[in-house]
Symmetry: C2
Subunit: 358 residues, 2 copies
C-alpha cells in the first residue's frame, strides 16, 4: 500500500512526492524502495504489487526500476485501506480464475521504518505460514517501548503457545483497541498484554473473501462485481463501481469483526515514521541528540531535527532545543517537535493563501 | 562612520554587505541610505563624507548614487572610531588650510535607526549650534525606556537650563558610564539622570584638535602628521602612519577625558539595531508580536522575527515563540532572540569549517 499523501512531512513531502517517496530512514533509498528491497529473496519480484494513487504511478516507477512497470497499479479513487485491498483482490481474481483457491496476500505499508531485515523476513514467513495453514488472518503486532498515543493497539492472549521459528511468537487476539489517551496508553504498556497494530496483514484470498463476506457483505459483493467488470475489460465500469465504495479502513471494515485473527509478534524494530519528530528514532543523532541531514551546522543546540534538502543553502541552528527545521528548494519550516503532528496547519495556511507549494 | 562589519546580522550581513548596507528599518532603503537621506536640507550633499573600509567603498557608492563618488572614502586600516575620526580630520586639514578655523564636523553612525527625521534635524541643528558657539564637544543622549545593558550611559546634570529650540534639551555631562550590569542599568533608569550614549558627536575642527591634544596627545600629533603627508600627496606614507595608530574608540580616547562636553537630549527615537532581536523595535509587528519580512507564513507563533530574503522560498513558522529565523540565498539561521547577540559563534563555526559564507 503506497497511496499515502504524507502532508505531515511538508515541505519535503508534496502531492507528487509523499512520505513513501522520501529517504526518511536511509541515506540513499526511499521508504518505498526499502519496503520492496526488504522482501528480496522472500517474495518474487513479479509478485510484488504496488497500489498507489494515479498521479503517483510515475514517481513510484521511477523509484522502483527493478519492478515490472505493470506491477505499480493505480487505485482509481482514494477509498482508504479497505478500498485499496478490495481493489487489489478484485484485480487478482480477474486475472486468474484459480486465484481464490491458491493465492495469498501479504499486505505491507510502503512508508514504515523496519529493521533488521532478517527479523522482518522471519516474521513475514511465519505470518504467511499461519495464514495459509490455519485459514486465519494474521497481523503483525509490535511490542511497545513507550506509551504511544498515536498508534492503535491489539490486546493479546499472553499465554499463547509458540510453534516453529522461535523468534516469532504467534498470539491470539483478544480485541483491537483504537488510539488510546495518555493514561490508557500507560496502562497498556504496564499491563504487557498489548501490542501496537502495525497495519500489516496476511491472508489467503479465500480467507479474506470469507471473512469479508461475514464482516462487510457489501464490500464482499463489490469485490466480486469489480472482478467481473475487470475480467470483462470494462475498466470504466470498474472505476465507477469503485468510486461508489465507502472510504473506510481495513481495521474498521474487517479486522475488528474478523472471526479468526492471530498476531505475529514482530522480530524487528518498527516505526510508522508518522511525522518529523519520528526522525530522531530513524536517523543517527549527535552527542546532544540532534539529527542533521544535509548541510547543517549546529551550535549550542539540543534534541533538534534539521533536514536541509537545498543544495545551495547552509542551515545553522544556534541555542535552540527540540526544534524541527526543514529546508527545501522552495520552503523553510520551523516548528517544535511536539507540534510536528500539526504541520498540516501550515499546509492549510498555504492552500488558503493560494501558495502552490503543497 | 560606515565601517561596521555587522557579523551579528549574519546570514544577511556578509563581509561585503555589512549591517549599514541592509534594509533593517525601511522596506526600500539601507540604513546607510536612510542616514544620508535624513540629512536632506540640513547638510549640503557635497559636505556629506562617508568613511568606510576599502572593500566597502564600491558597495557603499552603489547605495548612494546621489552623493559625489569621491565623498565615499576608505579608511586604509581598521582603527576603531578614534582612528576613523583622526583620518577624516586629517583629510579635511589636508584639503583646506583654513579647515581648523572654519569647519565643523557632525559625526553620525551609518547603522542606527532614527525617527522622526524632523526631531533628528532639530537635535542636530541645536547640537551644531552649541558646538560652534560654545566651543564644546556635543554628543546626543537618548532618554532610556528600558534598562538596556548593551549601551553606554551618560550621567547628566538634570537641572540644566535650556535655550533656543525647546524640543532639544542641552545638558551638562557629569560622567560617561560604560555598559552597566542589569542591576546598575535598573538604577540608571530609576534615577532618571542617565541617557544612552548614541555615539553621535559634534565639534568644530578646532575644538576637536584642542581637546584631542589634551586627551590623547599622540593622536593629536598623528592627525597633524597625517594631514602633512596627505597634503604632500604621500598616500603610502599616510597609510603607513595610520597603520601605526592604536585601535581605540573615540569614547575612550577623547570623550571620557574631554573638558567641555554637552549633551543634546534627542528629540527622536533611536536604536542602534545591534542584533536581530532589535528588529521588533524597528519593524512593524503583527497582533501576536511577530515581525515578518519577505515571503513568511506564521501559524500559532508569537514574538518571532522572520526575515526571508530568498525570492524562491516560503518561510513557515508553526507553534514557536521568541525565535529569530533568517533565510537568505545561501543560508538559514534559527536562534532564540536572546541568543541573537551570539550569532558570531555561528560565523566562527562556519569559518572553522571553511564554509565561505561569512
Amino acid at each position: 500500500m503506497a497511496g499515502g499523501s504524507g502532508e505531515r512531512f511538508w515541505p519535503l513531502s508534496r502531492q507528487t512526492r509523499p512520505k513513501q517517496l522520501l529517504k526518511l530512514a536511509h541515506p540513499d533509498h526511499t521508504l518505498l524502495e526499502q519496503t520492496v528491497n526488504r522482501l528480496s529473496g522472500l517474495i518474487p519480484t513479479e509478485n510484488i504489487l504496488i497500489a498507489t494513487a494515479p498521479h503517483l504511478v510515475g514517481p513510484s516507477q521511477a523509484h522502483l526500476t527493478g519492478l515490472p512497470a505493470a506491477n505499480i497499479q493505480a487505485e482509481p479513487h482514494k477509498r482508504n485501506t479497505a478500498g485499496c485491498l478490495v481493489w487489489v483482490a478484485a484485480n487478482l481474481l480477474a486475472k486468474d480464475p484459480e486465484a481464490r483457491a491458491k493465492m495469498s496476500m501479504a499486505v505491507l505499508a510502503a512508508d514504515h521504518r523496519i529493521s533488521p531485515d532478517d527479523g522482518f523476513q522471519a516474521t513475514v514467513s511465519k505470518a504467511l505460514d499461519v495464514a495459509e495453514n490455519q485459514s486465519s488472518i494474521v497481523t503483525i503486532g509490535i511490542k511497545p517501548d513507550r506509551p504511544e498515543t498515536g498508534y492503535g493497539y491489539i490486546e493479546v492472549d499472553q499465554s499463547a503457545a509458540n510453534q516453529g521459528d522461535e523468534r516469532v511468537v504467534i498470539r491470539a487476539v483478544k480485541q483491537f483497541r483504537e488510539k488510546p489517551d495518555a493514561a490508557t496508553a500507560e496502562q497498556f504498556l504496564a499491563n504487557g498484554g498489548f501490542l501496537w497494530n502495525s497495519g500489516t496483514f496476511f491472508w489467503t484470498l479465500d480467507t479474506f473473501l470469507t471473512e469479508l463476506e461475514n464482516a462487510a457483505p457489501e464490500l464482499y459483493l463489490a469485490t466480486l462485481k469489480l472482478a467481473d467488470l475487470l475480467r470483462a475489460g470494462d475498466l470504466q465500469g470498474a472505476n465507477d463501481a469503485f468510486a461508489a465504495l465507502p472510504s473506510i479502513s481495513i481495521d474498521y471494515a474487517l479486522m475488528e469483526k474478523a472471526r479468526k485473527v492471530a498476531v505475529a509478534q514482530a522480530a524487528f524494530d518498527w516505526d510508522d515514521v508518522g511525522a518529523w519528530d519520528a526522525l530522531d528514532r530513524s536517523l543517527p543523532t549527535d552527542e546532544t541528540g540532534n539529527v542533521g541531514r544535509g548541510d547543517v551546522v549546529v551550535v549550542d543546540s539540543q534534541s533538534c531535527i534539521a533536514v536541509n534538502d537545498h543544495p545551495g543553502i547552509t542551515t545553522c541552528l544556534l541555542g535552540v532545543e527540540g526544534l524541527v527545521v526543514v529546508v527545501t528548494e522552495d520552503a523553510v519550516l520551523v516548528c517544535p517537535k511536539d507540534r510536528a503532528q500539526d504541520v498540516r496547519a501550515v499546509v492549510d495556511a498555504l492552500k488558503s493563501r493560494g501558495i502552490p507549494k503543497v
